[in-house]
Amino acid sequence: MLRRRIIPCLDVSGGRVVKGVEFVNLRDCGEPVDAALRYAEQGADEICWLNITAGDEAWHELLIQVQDAGTRIDVPLTVGGGVSDEPHVRDLLGAGADKVSINSAALDRPELVTECAERHGSQCIVVAIDARKGPDGTWEAVASGGRRPTGRDAVAWAVEAVERGAGELLVTSMDQDGTQSGYAIDLYARLLDAVDVPIIASGGASGPGDIADVLEAGVSAALAASIFHDAISTVEEVKDACRARNLPMR
């Protein structure tokens, strides 16, 4: 039986793991390759690495670090952040990423998803969507790390991204991110109905119970950062809590 995945997320800036609340107030949480190895040893099913520094120099440094992480860990590695064209995807896959996530660039130019999926296969193209809930209860896709509203309905964008070849969606609720108030279950329920690719839920985990809740709602994987970086829970403790709810875990 296909297992649900627990994915620790490393937000990497200036070569270091950082974590903020609702994408601001970043604080240092250590060295990313060490963190990736530590989480892999704890039983992480996959590692997500999000580069949050712009610029050519940061990109070069990212590739070097991904190469290092990719050869040292023995679980899958998903890398994203600042991926703006197909050569970026090629660079990251060549460096050792198993999947590449594309966010704002796909919203700006949806054809990019098609190009990357045709060239590299859907199984390695993740479209990341940051969503914010409006007063009417619908979710809007926001770009540029949450700073740029797009007016695009997040569920409609998810459907288009999948039609264009996205093999997986990594969907972050901006309202929940870093707040430890639980995942946005209503958002994931809508997405699960709308698309038939795996969905990774992100944003809002305060502990193992929240992660079990969102996996029970039907997502394939749950991503979390703070609870692991702050040692609130280990990956294994999260998995135990999920097993106790009869969720299939590795």
């Binding site: 995945r5 990719g70 050869t71 023995d74 590695l77 050792g96 296969g121 590795r250």
Partner: protein
């Protein structure tokens, strides 16, 4: 120290597969040279991406014939993911011909609730074989196409909702794994270790 050559046709994951084999104690070379393939004592075909592009790259570089020749000489060969799929007669993905070393056609998976099949799943042995000694185990998959479990070369199977695929295959000295041993933690190490020690009859 066992030696293995990874056939480099421009596909992905060569770097992570090299590292995984080195962790298992292998001396690894990576080459796109058909002559090097012809002289190798153990071969792997990595895989990431689409079958059509992989086959076109293998054929244009002369690697396809070098691999067919190696199979005739019973050199141990392991294909991984798309590298396993190209061992078959045909793939429905891109409707392309494969190497023809294993019989059957690679189809899009039917019966899975969600595709791609992404994540960790059981690998259950169908028969005793030096490559399946550590099974059952749980390994990492990332694909939408596969061979069904009823093909003659099926060595192990994996269930995805209502679909059952062959997740390991073998015929003579030619073997394949649909999962990614380089990303399957201990399960992957076990398969690679078995492959490095494998002496096909």
């Amino acid at each position: 120290m066992p030696e293995v050559l990874i056939v480099d046709y421009g596909g992905g994951n060569v770097r992570s597969l090299t590292a995984a084999l080195e962790r298992c104690g292998a001396r690894v070379s990576v080459s796109a040279d058909p002559d090097a393939v012809a002289g190798a004592e153990r071969l792997m075909v990595a895989g990431q991406g689409a079958a059509g592009a992989a086959m076109a790259a293998l054929e244009s570089a002369g690697l396809a014939d070098a691999l067919r020749d190696a199979a005739r000489r019973h050199v141990p060969l392991l294909g991984v993911c798309v590298g396993m799929q190209v061992l078959f007669d045909r793939s429905e993905e891109d409707d392309c011909a494969g190497l023809g070393l294993l019989h059957g056609t690679v189809h899009r998976i039917h019966g899975a609730a969600r595709l791609p099949h992404l994540g960790w799943n059981d690998v259950e042995p169908l028969q005793e074989h030096p490559l399946t000694r550590d099974l059952p185990s749980v390994a990492y998959f990332a694909h939408s196409y596969a061979v069904t479990s009823d093909i003659p070369s099926a060595l192990a199977i994996t269930r995805i909702d209502d679909a059952t695929i062959a997740s390991m295959v073998v015929r003579g000295s030619v073997a394949g794994a649909q999962f990614h041993p380089e990303r399957s933690a201990e399960s992957g190490r076990q398969l690679l270790t078995r492959f490095l020690a494998w002496e096909p009859a």
